[in-house]
């Protein structure tokens, strides 16, 4: 034990994997859980809702209005209010993040489906596609880029928002911030910020990669425009 505070690297070394729940690796896992679950849930819920909004146009106004309101709600009070229903658990963080995600993804799904040019839809009909087949083989694939763009926003903001959960004891890496505040010490803050930003960038990168793999017809647009 040297005298004086440890360097950031020493601090990381000491806390990375202590096998205890407050080790950095453990917080990282928690953080991932609490951010990935909402991302996936939001997508799973937004797809059918978005489809419904496209199918029944009158649904879209109220839905998007509601989602706009949801999006405007600050996370902390929402976490706090949810405690009375779901307790001091990860669920309390996951539910609002899911809603924030949906607030972004439902319009993305709707925009994505609306981005299918009418003439493309018409020719699909004219060639004898049944409605389900048209949805699966024509409309959804064409909507993918717009939906993925929404996913990128959702992934990045979910990952950073989880840390606010630290204020109710469920913040993943956000726990490093509260700890560092109680015992004023910079390295945990830096590590927390860097890891969260890095996670966000990795998630973003993966989604960009997914976009490239899923939509070669968009990528090619930039590449070989002849």
């Amino acid at each position: 034990m040297g005298d004086g505070p440890p360097s950031i690297w020493e601090w990381i070394g000491r806390n990375w994997d202590t096998g205890r729940v407050d080790s950095i690796s453990n917080l990282l896992t928690d953080h991932l859980t609490m951010s990935l679950v909402p991302i996936v849930l939001a997508l799973v819920l937004a797809l059918p809702l978005g489809l419904a909004c496209v199918r029944w146009r009158w649904l879209y106004q109220p839905t998007s209005g509601f989602m706009n309101v949801v999006y405007a709600l600050p996370s902390l009070p929402v976490f706090m209010l949810l405690i009375s229903v779901t307790g001091l658990s990860q669920t309390t963080v996951i539910i609002p993040l899911t809603f924030y995600g949906m607030a972004v993804l439902i319009p993305a799904v709707v925009d994505g489906l609306n981005s299918v040019p009418d003439h493309v839809r018409q020719s699909a009909v004219a060639m004898g596609f049944t409605p389900l087949r048209r949805l699966l083989q024509v409309e959804l694939p064409i909507a993918v880029p717009v939906v993925l763009a929404g996913m990128r926003v959702v992934a990045v903001s979910s990952i950073s928002l989880v840390s606010v959960g630290a204020l109710i004891g469920q913040g993943g890496l956000g726990g490093l911030f509260t700890r560092a505040y109680q015992n004023p010490f910079m390295p945990p803050v830096i590590v927390g910020i860097v890891l969260i930003v890095a996670l966000a960038l990795v998630a973003d990168g993966l989604l960009v990669l997914a976009q490239r793999l899923l939509t070669p017809w968009v990528r090619a647009r930039k590449g070989t425009a002849s």
């Binding site: 040019p117 003439h119 493309v120 018409q122 020719s123 699909a124 009909v125 004219a126 060639m127 004898g128 596609f129 049944t130 087949r133 024509v138 694939p141 064409i142 993918v144 939509t215 070669p216 017809w217 090619a220 647009r221 070989t224 425009a225 002849s226």
Partner: protein
């Protein structure tokens, strides 16, 4: 044959888009629907493949009412080509073309082979097969659209203003392409356009519709130009009706004079000195210009047409380009085959106006 039997379409908002339309589009011919915007062309066309269902009346496909056929099945047997081509942006060209074969359950290999064959048929380089639609120009996309519609070899082809989004030059070549294809394939084609020139160029029969979805006239193009049924049709046909009608008059019957040419190098051959105008040609028979006894200074401009291939319209135009008043008839290689004098043209025109 496609038969419209007193077909009416009333939209839910009360608009009557098509009003008791009865007509026939004969097998193996191109029937063009033409008319001003909103006259119900698209509606009529789409009732054939049941993209829209008629409110009253029946549409028969070779005698069978389309109402009795399940729409997807019906549509897979009818090619459909629209403006903007409607290509699937997320599929490669070859897969776009093979769409209907895939739907019909053909195996992948066979469907692709068919697609490749069709790409060639519509004049596209096989190298395009692996591209995505956005990598093609508008005209190329339109060709793919035609190939796609033909993929499953449907007997019927519906085309809704397919060429109206491309520029005039490409458009002309697409029209020529379509005529060439049709001469090979003999499909039953219903073609919608609001451009009367296109209608006249492509149609075996032209149906002029007026707003409200009523049939104003159904006739072959020449008849249409010479005998418009009423003022609406006359106005719709626009100016130059007389001149345009010449398009359907062949130059084959035009009497040519071959005694009005002199070869360049032959110097001042006094041969035809009695003629006021002589056509100077090169040694290998290409036109150089008109020489007039009255104006020895230089050569006057000339106009040419390809004899037998070009129409009387081209011959007249050629004549009007020259102060000699004569049109120079050339063959496919541009060599002079004779001269159509004003008298010869007059005679041919009189005959044309008469017929």
């Amino acid at each position: 044959m496609i038969t419209f039997d007193s077909v009416t379409k009333r939209y839910p908002d009360g608009t009557v888009a098509v009003d008791h339309l009865s007509l026939e589009a004969p097998t193996g011919e191109i029937t063009v629907f033409v008319g001003p915007s909103g006259c119900g062309k698209t509606t009529s066309l789409r009732m054939i493949n049941r993209m829209i269902d008629a409110s009253e009346g029946r549409i028969l496909l070779d005698g069978e009412p389309v109402q009795n056929i399940d729409p997807p099945t019906l549509r897979r047997g009818i090619g459909y080509v629209i403006q903007q081509a409607g290509l699937f942006p997320h599929r490669k060209i070859v897969d776009n073309v093979a769409t209907v074969p895939y739907l019909l359950g053909w195996d992948r290999k066979k469907a692709r082979a068919r697609a490749m064959e069709l790409l060639e048929r519509v004049g596209l380089d096989p190298a395009f097969a692996g591209r995505y639609p956005f990598q093609l120009s508008g005209g190329q996309q339109q060709r793919v659209g035609v190939a796609r519609a033909l993929a499953a070899d449907p007997p019927v082809l519906l085309m809704d203003e397919p060429f109206s989004a491309v520029d005039p030059i490409v458009r002309t070549s697409l029209q020529d392409e379509l005529l060439r294809l049709q001469s090979e394939l003999n499909k039953t084609i219903v073609f919608v356009t609001h451009d009367i020139d296109e209608a006249i160029k492509l149609g075996d029969r032209v149906a002029v519709l007026r707003v409200g979805g009523k049939l104003a006239q159904l006739a072959d193009p020449k008849t249409l130009l010479s005998e418009p049924a009423d003022d609406f049709v006359r106005e719709f046909l626009g100016h130059d009706r007389g001149i345009r009608r010449l398009q359907f008059v062949s130059t084959e019957g035009l009497r040519l004079r071959t005694d009005l040419t002199v070869t360049e190098d032959a110097g001042d051959s006094g041969d035809g000195a009695a003629e006021p105008w002589l056509l100077v040609v090169t040694g290998d028979g290409r036109p150089v210009g008109w020489r007039s006894g009255a104006r020895p200074a230089g050569l006057e401009p000339y106009g040419t047409y390809v004899h037998g291939r070009d129409s009387m319209r081209a011959a007249l135009d050629a004549a009007l380009l020259s102060p000699s008043g004569c049109a120079v008839a050339v063959d496919g290689d541009g060599k002079v085959v004779g001269v159509a004098t004003r008298e010869a043209l007059d005679a041919a025109l009189a005959e044309a106006a008469d017929g």
